[in-house]
């Protein structure tokens, strides 16, 4: 590798187009990547984290905080927001200057790479994992005259788990050193992660400063979209409410909510005869987007399957009913299949053909199969409920 390579993606030959109409403008604002100026609905959490970090910086001490919550509830965004505000404050000389370092468990190949990345971001130095650990150890345990507080954000903490848990142990042990001046903010999904995977001395060092992010309620989701749109009038009120209620009922994931809204604007644009004069996004468009994203394709797949594949599914259910079990061998199903073929007035399938039909259904996971080298003795299970299959077969 070149010693001081500057990684980059080449520049565009042609400039990007500006959003041409209201819907495109709305789409840009609704994209998950466009982080808004202020995060609505997370004021309390923001305040808590802010005061925690601020007090540590002012005191010149260190500490740990554990933040949990299901994906898409604004954990990372809130912490980033806190950091941005603190950096503003530091620039205005309201608080002492500090360093901010961020690592993400998913963005490294091995838990020990955490040392390498922290060291590189702190000093720009490249080292192997062991060497980096030693250097960091020295940096955090030795007293220095002029030292600023370091804020370390560890995202996806559960990925840093190793058998001996030494990476986690070090991360939580450094803040307890007298001269470290290190604030560690950790983020993960599960609330009981410290109890579940950490050994006692690690969990005890993590401490009890915890915070959990609740899934968004529908009112909050609605507020998030409205604040993102920021007076761009693209949605009907009812449509927004429907999206937020649906998402809140399922997961409360803000990413999902924004994705659905974005898809709804596309549907609206396509359905209008003249794209430039497309009106507001209404209930119909939102309903269609919701259906696209939440409905499962199994039933359509069964409806679109070929005649023999449908007969095979019927045979599977017939055999399950006969056996009273949820599992049957191919040989047993084939008997039913051939009987069904005769009933339908089709030529009975041969074993090879039946196996091919079975494998095709197994490839798209309508059926769960054993390895195909077991031939006619392989066991078959359904991956969908029997009712779904019957409904799909009956509908036409």
């Amino acid at each position: 590798t070149p010693r001081h390579a500057t990684p980059s993606i080449p520049n565009r030959a042609q400039p990007t187009r500006r959003p041409a109409n209201v819907l495109e403008e709305a789409r840009t604002r609704l994209h998950v990547s466009s982080v808004p100026e202020s995060l609505p609905c997370r004021e309390q959490e923001f305040q808590d984290i802010y005061s925690f970090v601020e007090s540590k910086i002012l005191d010149g001490t260190g500490g740990c905080m554990y933040i949990s919550g299901v994906p898409g509830t604004g954990k990372t965004a809130t912490v980033h927001e806190v950091m941005r505000c603190l950096q503003h404050a530091a620039a205005a000389d309201e608080i002492p200057a500090f360093l901010f370092v961020e690592i993400n468990g998913m963005k490294m190949t091995d838990p020990h790479q955490a040392y390498v990345q922290i060291l590189q971001k702190l000093t720009g130095q490249k080292a192997t994992a062991d060497h980096a650990a030693a250097l960091l150890e020295k940096r955090f345990s030795s007293p220095a005259l002029r030292k600023e507080t370091t804020v370390l954000l560890v995202d996806e903490l559960d990925l840093l788990w190793t058998r001996k848990q030494n990476v986690m142990y070090n991360l939580f042990d450094w803040p307890t050193r007298r001269h470290a001046r290190l604030v560690v903010l950790t983020i993960a999904n599960t609330m009981d992660l410290p109890e579940r995977i950490m050994i006692n001395r690690v969990a005890s060092r993590l401490g009890l400063t915890r915070m959990s992010f609740q899934p968004y309620t529908f009112k909050q989701l609605q507020q998030i979209i409205t604040s993102r749109l920021n007076k761009v009038k693209a949605f009907e009120e009812d449509a927004l409410q429907l999206v937020s209620r649906k998402v809140a009922a399922l997961s409360g994931d803000a990413r999902r909510c924004l994705d659905i809204c974005r898809r709804a604007t596309e549907i609206c644009e396509h359905s209008a005869a003249d794209p430039s004069a497309a009106g507001l996004v209404g209930m119909v468009h939102v309903m269609e987007a919701l259906n696209e994203m939440f409905s499962s394709a199994y039933i359509t797949a069964i409806k679109c399957a070929s005649t023999q594949e449908q007969l095979f599914l019927r045979a599977v259910i017939a055999e399950f009913r006969r056996l009273g079990l949820e599992e049957a061998t191919f040989q047993q199903v084939l008997v039913q299949h051939q009987a069904l073929c005769r009933v339908e007035g089709l030529q009975p399938v041969s074993v090879s053909e039946g196996l091919a039909v079975c494998r095709r259904l197994g490839a798209c996971r309508l059926l769960l199969l054993e390895p195909s080298r077991l031939g006619v003795l392989q066991r078959i299970r359904l991956n969908v409920s029997q009712d779904d299959v019957l409904f799909a077969l009956k509908a036409d």
């Binding site: 190949t109 790479q113 990925l159 070929s306």
Partner: protein, 447 residues
């Protein structure tokens, strides 16, 4: 291949020189037919226009265009059964996009396949190579796995929506990427597509309908949940029409008269009653076009100078070889003794309702048959029977019931029959010069 190329250029010169209604020798016409149709069936040549997937096509074109033109990041999964035309759809979309100058000049493409990039390390090297990042010299990628990942993520992070070139990631066999450790690659790709970094579009192709259930929660949350389903609602008349267009020659074929005759022959072929029956059987069995291409390819291989058309008989033959039962065919090649053993196993299966058996039990059953017949014709010694039994095992017509094969003696190892009874009976009917008493024994245990 070289010959074909020569011929092709030769033909082009000819057609320039002469009027359109040139007559070629029949041999050259047939060569051309083979060349054109084989390209369609074997090389998955893109048709000029895809049929039946207009909505999906439009969705994907719009999506990728927005990435290329507006710098909007997106992720999408194309889901459909095998042979439903997922790759064809994508290729056709990319062909259409390549005609837009803004796309052509800006879009970088990275193609990955789950069967080739079996872990993230290889996938990452391939991405850096295809993007021509700075740590690539020639075709070699420098740096460790961790450095590569950091380098790529840095590169993507430096970019932004309005200035850097958009990147299209195509992940073929997407479900295999979900089996990589921690799903690191997927997490990072989706994370880039959901944050303000270089604009990327991630397109996954998979045949599994439950693909979203394979994703980890945090990966799933970052995926935009757009899925394009390719489920064909093809009807039989459309299927036949497809057969006709697939077999028809294009208008720019050098010999006009031959084209007219060939296309007329194809049209009459598709109206033939027996052909319709064959096609309906295939249509009932599967709607995917790959198996159809296989069938047509078998027909095409019978076209020669002596017989320059496809006849219904060709299609019947081709269909027969497509639908033939593989194991029943294997039974035709067995010796009489092996067939006897198989019949004995069938009886054991009937009596003991599918319980596994060993060589001794089979031999006993066989001996009972011999006693009844008082026929010394099949009186073989134990080692010969053992040999026959082992041969059956090698052909995998019987398989050990449990895998601990080394511990027990061969005579007492439990086996299972891998054949269906209908296959045995059918094979006996077709077995060349099958002894009558064998047939009788097969139909009833007390012959």
């Amino acid at each position: 291949m070289y010959l074909y190329v020569l011929q092709f250029s030769f033909l082009r010169i000819m057609s320039k020189r002469k009027a359109k209604e040139a007559h070629l020798p029949i041999g050259e016409c047939i060569d051309q037919v083979h060349l054109i149709l084989r390209k369609r069936f074997c090389h998955q040549q893109l048709p000029d226009k895809l049929e039946g997937v207009e909505a999906q096509h439009k969705h994907l074109v719009e999506l990728l265009k927005r990435t290329a033109v507006h710098g909007e990041s997106n992720s999408v999964l194309i889901v459909g059964p095998r042979g439903a035309g997922k790759t064809t759809l994508l290729r056709s979309v990319l062909r259409e996009l390549s005609e837009v100058t803004e796309v052509q000049k800006n879009l970088l493409q990275v193609h990955l396949n789950g069967l080739l990039q079996t872990d993230d390390r290889i996938a990452l090297k391939e991405i850096t190579r295809q993007l021509h990042l700075e740590n690539v010299v020639g075709d070699r990628v420098f740096g460790s796995f961790a450095e590569n990942l950091a380098f790529l993520l840095d590169a993507l992070k430096k970019g932004d929506r309005s200035s850097s070139r958009p990147v299209l990631f195509v992940l073929d066999e997407f479900d295999l990427f979900a089996h990589h450790k921690n799903q690191t690659l997927l997490y990072n790709l989706f994370d880039v597509s959901q944050s303000a970094q270089a604009p990327i579009a991630v397109v996954g192709l998979t045949c599994r309908l439950d693909v979203l259930e394979l994703l980890e929660k945090r990966v799933k949350s970052r995926f935009s949940h757009r899925q394009i389903h390719l489920l064909s609602s093809l009807t039989f008349p459309q299927y036949v029409a497809r057969v006709q267009t697939q077999l028809s020659l294009p208008d720019d074929f050098p010999d006009g008269k031959f084209v007219r005759e060939w296309n007329a022959a194809v049209a009459t072929l598709c109206e033939d009653k027996s052909v319709e029956d064959v096609l309906r059987r295939h249509f009932n069995s599967s709607k995917d076009f790959r198996s159809l291409h296989m069938l047509l390819m078998l027909c095409l291989s019978r076209v020669s100078v002596a017989k320059p058309v496809i006849t219904p008989a060709d299609l019947l033959d081709a269909s027969r070889s497509c639908l033939a039962d593989a194991q029943a065919n294997m039974l035709h090649g067995l010796s009489i003794l092996e067939l006897c053993l198989i019949i004995a196993m069938k009886h054991l299966n009937d009596v003991y309702e599918g319980e596994p058996f060993n060589l001794q039990m089979v031999h006993n059953e066989f001996k009972k048959f011999l006693q009844r017949k008082s026929n010394s014709m099949y009186n073989f010694e134990q080692p010969v029977i053992m040999k026959a039994f082992e041969h059956l095992q090698q052909l995998e017509l019987i398989q050990p019931a449990d895998s601990s094969s080394a511990k027990t003696q061969r005579e007492y190892q439990l086996m299972r029959l891998m054949l269906d009874h209908s296959q045995i009976m059918e094979a006996l009917q077709k077995y060349p010069q099958c002894p009558t008493d064998l047939k009788q024994w097969a139909t009833s245990a007390f012959a």
